[in-house]
Symmetry: C2
Subunit: 256 residues, 2 copies
């Protein structure tokens, strides 16, 4: 039993960098560090973990990418505990979904369930400033677009409408998921094709739903909020799938 250098199991060789990452994470937990608190500076970390500058820096880079710290140069600088932005979290999650196939149907399966609920939840917190924001957004797309670029801006603003609504909910999880679904619709290649086509759709219908929704939000009528959003989502899904089918058909006929 003298071979205690490498364990009998020894499944994975842990790299020095990752050791340091884990060690730092543990001290963050142990010392209960919160955003704004400072980590020891590079040279101290080098000493504490008796590692080289590069290794420590790679470890810090790892923590930075994970959204746990950010660094500042200059006197009083160093690594500070950070709390990840929603935007960064969504980017990282996008990397996971990047290699996987996501359909419009999948997204709307979720939106149909969640948007009505998040809207009701938002109703309890939204104020007149929030209501005004919604009107301002609608103003972006309450008229025919002059060109392709404005058409695009209008499609994005239509999604922003829901982003603002959701942001008033205090269910962090629910808000994050709704925002992420909205972002997916902005980013997905399939959707981009759809948005750019001059749609044969009655654009006013969507706006009508949104006016109704605002009214229901103002009156704190939960049933109405829920019902309007459900109808709105069903309609939006229908439009998207319809347009997608049209595009596919056109694509196939060009193939021949």
């Amino acid at each position: 039993m003298s071979t205690d250098k490498s364990s009998v199991i020894d499944p994975v060789r842990i790299k020095r960098t990752d050791e340091i990452v884990n060690a730092i994470k543990e001290t963050i937990m142990a010392d209960n560090l919160t955003p704004g608190d400072r980590l020891p500076q590079e040279k101290d970390l080098i000493e504490r973990y008796s590692a080289s500058k590069s290794t420590v820096r790679e470890a810090l880079k790892s923590l930075e990418v994970q959204g746990l710290i950010r660094t500042k140069t200059g006197p009083g600088g160093g690594a500070f505990i950070d709390s990840m932005t929603e935007s960064r979290a969504m980017s990282l999650l996008s990397n996971y979904l990047f290699t996987r196939e996501i359909s419009i149907k999948d997204i709307y399966t979720l939106r149909k369930l969640l948007e009505p609920v998040v809207a009701v939840s938002a109703m309890e917190n939204i104020d007149s400033a929030g209501i005004q924001k919604l009107y301002d957004i609608i103003a972006i797309y309450d008229h025919e677009p002059a060109d392709e670029d404005e058409r695009w801006q209008q499609r994005m603003a239509e999604l922003d409408f829901h982003t603002v609504v959701a942001s008033y909910s205090d269910n962090v999880l629910l808000v994050f998921i709704c925002h992420f679904l909205q972002r997916l619709l902005k980013d997905l290649a399939v959707c981009k094709d759809i948005y750019l086509k001059p749609e044969p759709v009655d654009r006013c219908q969507g706006i009508e739903y949104q006016y109704q929704l605002i009214e229901a939000l103002r009156r704190k009528n939960a049933q109405k909020v829920q019902a309007v959003m459900e109808a709105h989502m069903n309609y939006a899904e229908h439009v998207m799938l319809e347009l997608q089918a049209t595009l596919q058909e056109r694509f196939l006929s060009e193939e021949r």
Copy 2:
């Protein structure tokens, strides 16, 4: 108009490392690299971006943490395109929620909506092997636990039951979210306290729901699957909130 060195706006100073990260990301997109494909090796990247070894390595570390590449040493080694595991994606997302407050109520608001739907979606794909897996999991907690450790294992297995069910759905997004919610319930400190207390709850009730669910899955009875899961989730939420309240009460009385 000769000052084209720094833009008029020049909002953020982009670090060399991040430049390289972005450049590599772009080549991944442009060359349409897929998991398994190799990136140029370190020394080539050093040459291409005329950066130092450390800087390139920090860039690669960033990409690794983002789940986009993994590296291998030895001949034929280097950086390979990777596709992030679900587990890694959930870890990264946990970092986002780490600093935010998540309640059991928030989680169950989502589970009540999503678990019934994911179960119906899974119903279409689950096979007899899957059904067997579910029975095997129930066997872990269909009896009184002998000790604290077994009690804990049983609580985890109860969540695994739903993880397996969800895994048969082909809606990647929906699956991910359900799995994430299940993982949150495993990790949340509040929940850990709850699971460890010898529960005054009728444990058999949950198992009964699960047997009913399996039966409905086998018979491809969508309405039943949906209904049973809804009832199950409502019951689970009720139990959790009840136990949480009990714990809080006990905590408060100890304060005095």
